[in-house]
Symmetry: C2
Subunit: 407 residues, 2 copies
């Protein structure tokens, strides 16, 4: 049975391994004789409406492998979220180009776009197979154990906090690092994996799954400084007060909203600066510094988890296989089948509506009850995903020299 032409596109925020999924789907699709051609659309659904296509059959396997190892959507991305009218435009173009299968690599917004599009195709009685390939550094897709893109971003966050902890230990003070993640704290929680020794930071971890109060925060910081003589803090950009209002929005002079109605939380250092000011005003700590990890955590060239790389590739390959096997529309989902040393995962095709537009947040079992922290269960969950080659910090071990003057 002919699949006709295959079209693939990438949506939403880039990840370090999003091109692994692209290349996986392209290579496997190209290998099926019933596939007439494999097109790529530039800048997601925007590129479809504009008929901005590339014929990926013309790419050498060698160049595709180089693309796979390059972070950030090689086809470009978009923040457009199509409504019914937009989908009708998309549809016109798919029909004109005889597209039979559409792979959309993206997060929950992109999967929702696919869901609408699949409905449109069904209504128009057009044989279109819509398959969602998961990616997001936020790790907030339902059904999935975790999401391609998250482990590499988590590895960046671990390397950042491990380094910052060493820096803060050398020159003690208070440090606030603001991490991406609007509703789900998975990426901020990854900072816990930066700890090795008992007194290592981050000493406090604030997730968007729990209400945040400045008073509680100041009390936590004072207690940590009292105990460690310093304090490293990991904060999600999405922290909010008990009414649900984001702390970042509370102080942003101008609130910028994107097409999805989301308040802009990244690309500004305001939240870190506010928290630092609060610490300076309410404690006697002089050395208070704040960083916002910003775009580096999702695009840094040279920080990737090899487990993530492999799984992202497989997600694309499996998508092409599911399309070939004729299992209909769906979202490729990732399920853990082995833990710890025996970590293993497999892919299934789940109904689009189970993933589309939904957001998964951290389970209660991953969040510490009595302190701003994560649990051992979360550490066990994340560790195998970081893959091999995680650098490690070491300390001097020799004995102190006896004092002569200040006995």
């Amino acid at each position: 049975m002919s699949q006709g032409k295959v079209l693939i596109a990438q949506g939403g925020g880039p990840t370090a391994v999003i091109n692994q999924s692209l290349v996986g789907a392209v290579m496997v699709s190209r290998g099926f004789p019933e596939v007439d051609a494999v097109y790529g659309a530039f800048h997601g659904v925007q590129g479809i409406v504009n008929e901005d296509f590339i014929d990926l059959g013309g790419e050498t396997a060698e160049n595709l492998e180089l693309i796979a190892a390059t972070p950030c959507s090689a086809l470009g991305s978009t923040r457009d979220k199509p409504d019914v009218k937009y989908c009708q435009e998309i549809f016109k173009v798919l029909r004109a180009h005889a597209i039979g299968t559409f792979f959309y690599i993206g997060g929950n917004d992109s999967s929702d776009t696919l869901r609408i599009l699949a409905e449109e195709a069904a209504n128009a009685d057009y044989a279109l197979r819509c398959i969602h390939i998961p990616k997001t550094i936020d790790n907030d897709l339902t059904v999935n154990d975790h999401t391609p893109g998250y482990p590499s971003a988590a590895k960046f966050v671990v390397g950042a906090f491990a380094g910052v902890n060493l820096d803060n230990r050398a020159l003690p003070g208070v440090y606030v690092g603001v991490v991406m993640g609007r509703h789900a704290g998975f990426l901020t929680a990854a900072s816990a994996l930066a700890r090795k020794y008992d007194d290592d930071g981050p000493h406090l971890i604030y997730l968007p799954e729990r209400d945040f109060s400045i008073d509680g925060f100041i009390a936590d910081v004072k207690a940590a400084v009292g105990k460690f003589g310093r304090c490293v803090i990991a904060v999600s950009e999405g922290i909010h007060d008990e009414t649900g209002e984001p702390m970042a929005a509370k102080l942003a002079q101008e609130v910028e909203k994107d097409a999805h109605g989301n308040v802009q939380l990244s690309g500004t250092g305001a939240l870190a600066d506010l928290l630092c000011a609060a610490i300076r005003d309410n404690t006697d700590m002089k050395r208070v510094r704040g960083d916002t990890f910003g775009y580096l955590q999702r695009s840094f060239l040279g920080c990737v988890s090899d487990v993530d790389q492999r799984e992202a590739r497989q997600a694309g390959e499996r998508a092409a296989q599911f399309a070939h096997d004729g299992e209909g529309d769906g979202s490729v989902t990732l399920h853990r089948t082995g833990d710890g040393e025996n970590y293993a995962a497999e892919f299934r095709l789940s109904p689009l509506q189970d993933v589309a537009g939904k957001t998964k947040v951290m389970a209660d079992e991953f969040i510490a009850k009595d302190s701003p922290d994560v649990t051992g269960a979360f550490v066990d969950y994340l560790r195998p995903l970081l893959g091999s080659g995680m650098p490690e910090a070491f300390r001097l071990e020799a004995e102190r020299v006896g004092k002569i003057l200040n006995k």
Copy 2:
């Protein structure tokens, strides 16, 4: 001739390879029979005054190698800058512990501390050998071709801008990345090495060696957006107006000064946010994002140049050798002896006063005349220092598909 006891300490901001220098000096010193003991002082000169010493003879070679590969001062650091009275206190302790050689790993402030201390020792007729081992991510030490610590931080900046460029190409807009470097633009300039294709960012690079004006900046951004449809900008935290006032200080509500009288420029996102606001107010670009690279660029666990690693180690080893050879006080300095493919460098012992308290900025030949950019000479200067294993970005190359509907 006995050197007595050797003392080593680390000062100033940490780097990714500062412990290579520590371990190099310790291992070589331990091998000389005329060295009675090798002590380390915790937190630089502060630890000397407090007699807070560790007996580094008790460290195994195995643990020292693990320490060498760990970023950030293993002995801890300090921002204290001793005056004559402080040096007399240091001196009392050195005499009590029969310290004959003092190695201080640090930047221009640390070398100035050594210079004062050497004078104090000479005045007191005490046989103390003071040797400065260079380190700074700012690359601003005089006499040196470059400084251990700089290449690894530069590698981080390159990886960051290479990734951000890909991100910005996938989701076009304006991006401002603020890089460390108060007076010297070397680290910001490193962003130029992130470019591979003609239209790659950073498209604009602002260095503290040139006056900055908001009007000129806005005109540059508009021109770049007109040409590329997007714009990636690298900005030094130290940019200042024509009166010399730092742009960051102009807008900081509270200016915090450290013990050296330096205005705090790092650890706040204010400069990036100001520049983004200026772009939003004066152009029609909607997607404007700013990041401040902050402490990640000097401490990130997992980003190191192998050339930097090797040279930092050699700087420590050579310091121990210079002390053993009895060449007197001085600063270990790094000199380039081969270029490009044949890159090579050697170490010399230079007079302390040639380095102490002085600041080197970028030479005119490294700064483009007619645009906010660096020259090819700078790219040639930095490239060999980044070492092996620099990741590279690739692009799709196949042909576009002909339009059917929108012909």
